[in-house]
């Protein structure tokens, strides 16, 4: 399967580090900007402002219109090639980036829908309710809700602690009539992998966390293949 990730978090682009692609250069070809591939098989293509910054600590201090313009270019000028799925990672909010990416994608593509991520506590679901309204107002289908950071199992004694409360994701799904895709626990092995840009799924295939993410992925694929 050929997958692309478009990172439209211009102020805080995390995708390059998480996928361990270091500081590659973005080249142009006849069809536009060439995305950065994570492997020789080109199974995962990435585009992020992180690849365009000379200095990784450089702040992108842009107001909305400039962000909108770059996102428009990311959508129309990247030569993604044939992809089965394009994932778009967004910053928090319901503002320029979200409007820009949606408007530009809709010009030439069918947008299957949105996955909404929350953590269990009410302070989080309170904001995600507004994101749900954004989706409804912009005609964006909600593929489902994922509850992240859903409990922590102590590696020493296996006691489960609900550090960020419990159950909020499922309640939110019920309240808003959305699909509950599942929950992903807090896992230091996952956070360490992400830090080091390692492929968690290759390194820890037997973990409960992988099983949770995999199950969510399978449900999503079924959902987009059978709208």
């Amino acid at each position: 399967m050929a997958v692309g990730i478009l990172d439209v978090d211009l102020c805080g682009p995390s995708i390059p580090r998480m996928l361990s692609v270091g500081k590659p250069e973005v080249h142009q070809c006849d069809l536009g900007w060439v995305p950065v591939y994570t492997d020789a098989q080109k199974s995962l293509a990435l585009m992020s402002i992180g690849f365009l910054l000379e200095d990784p600590d450089e702040a992108v201090v842009w107001r909305g219109p400039k962000k909108t313009a770059l996102i428009g270019q990311f959508v129309s000028d990247v030569a993604w090639g044939e992809l089965d799925v394009l994932l778009v990672d967004t910053p928090p909010g319901t503002s320029d980036e979200h409007l820009a990416v949606l408007e530009n994608l809709k010009k030439q593509h069918k947008v299957d829908g949105a996955i909404l991520i929350t953590t269990p506590q009410a302070v989080s679901t309170g904001d995600v309710r507004r994101e749900i309204t954004f989706c409804k107002k912009t005609g964006l289908r909600i593929l489902g809700i994922v509850e992240n950071m859903s409990g922590f199992v102590c590696p020493h004694c296996s006691e489960c602690s609900n550090i960020f409360s419990k159950g909020g994701g499922e309640e939110l799904a019920k309240l808003t009539g959305s699909v509950y895709l599942g929950s992903v626990p807090l896992d230091p092995l996952l956070t360490t992998s992400i830090e080091e840009g390692k492929d968690f799924i290759q390194t820890f295939p037997d973990s409960a966390t992988f099983s949770a993410i995999n199950s969510i992925a399978q449900t999503l694929l079924t959902s987009i293949q059978n709208p």
Partner: protein, 322 residues
């Protein structure tokens, strides 16, 4: 001229923007010539009006982070509670996270509304000496989304600073959304003739956070905003059963401590993960009152003391003379 005139097209960059009159959206706008001539980039009179308003505010602190979800709003709220625990101090908390206003819930003020009076908008009071303002108080439903582009968000922030009747304050704390964009630029610009004491930067220990936080620090340096220091949040979790500590968000590159050493900043403190913090926030209560003996509460108090000490010791010469 208004930042977004009523006859402006949909993607108007704002009359005060560097792009005013120059973007593709400006084609055909009746104000295009005026904007591109630079006439609309005269200093916004609101800046002086806000400076007037801020004369009665002794200390202004911004709470920033490059990264989302690190606990800015939680920290801002508890900083406000801690400062207001001294009944002789007047404290206010301004929430400029326009899209995701969490402060009303965290302060136990959900469902409250803002009132207008002759002297402007009245903030909502948690205690006699603790006032709060947020766009959350202007929304009628918890499902309402604020789907605004930058210029409209900037307009709201200007109103919050200019039109809220803050009164005499010892401390004004400003909670921000993650990033280095409209909200952050606007707050700094609109307060440019008033004096901001500095910014407190919140991070979590892992590099994925620090990477974004370094950008926030660069932003502060770019706009000449002093940095009071850095708080490392979610710094370790002590299992309530076996008491072993787990680094759920591991400091793989040395955490905030190393970043502060490298960037010559003060590490104000580390706050551990404690499920009771999230619970207090969800219930709109102060964690400092609910669980006063916890290690996290002790960490908060120490950090707040450092912030107060900074504010009191960094008074400009013209204010401290005579």
């Amino acid at each position: 001229m208004a930042d977004i005139p009523s006859d402006a097209p949909q993607h108007c960059p704002g009359t005060a923007s560097e792009q005013a009159g120059k973007t593709s959206a400006c084609q055909g706008c009746p104000n295009q010539n005026l904007c591109s001539s630079g006439a609309t980039k005269a200093p916004d009179p609101a800046i002086e009006e806000i400076a007037e308003k801020m004369l009665t505010v002794k200390h202004k602190i911004l709470v920033l982070s490059g990264k989302g979800g690190v606990g800015k709003s939680t920290f801002s709220a508890h900083l406000a509670h801690a400062l207001a625990s001294d009944a002789t101090k007047e404290v206010a908390l301004l929430d400029v996270d326009i899209c995701g206003p969490s402060i009303p819930r965290i302060m136990g003020l959900e469902g409250e509304q803002v009132h207008q009076s002759g002297s402007g908008w009245s903030p909502v009071y948690v205690e006699d000496n603790l006032a709060v303002m947020s766009i959350g108080f202007l929304l009628s439903s918890p499902d309402d989304a604020v789907i605004w582009r930058g210029p409209k968000k900037n307009g709201m922030i200007k109103q919050f600073l200019r039109d809220v009747d803050w009164g005499e304050l010892d401390y004004l704390i400003v909670d921000t959304p993650p990033g280095t964009s409209d909200e952050h630029l606007s707050i700094v610009q609109y307060l440019s003739s008033a004096r901001i004491d500095g910014a407190v930067i919140i991070t979590t220990p892992q590099e994925v956070s620090l990477q974004d936080v370094r950008k926030e620090i660069r932003f502060c340096q770019k706009v000449q905003l002093p940095i009071i220091g850095v708080v490392e949040n979610m710094s370790g979790f002590v299992c309530p059963k076996c008491k072993n500590t787990s680094q759920i968000f591991p400091p793989t590159t040395g955490g905030a401590e190393r970043m502060c050493e490298e960037m010559n900043l003060t590490l104000l403190g580390r706050v551990p993960l404690d499920p009771r913090i999230g619970k207090s926030c969800d219930e709109g209560k102060s964690f400092l009152t609910e669980v006063p003996d916890s290690p996290a509460a002790a960490a908060y108090h120490s950090i707040v003391q450092s912030i107060q000490a900074y504010c009191l010791s960094h008074v400009p010469r013209e204010e401290s003379a005579g």
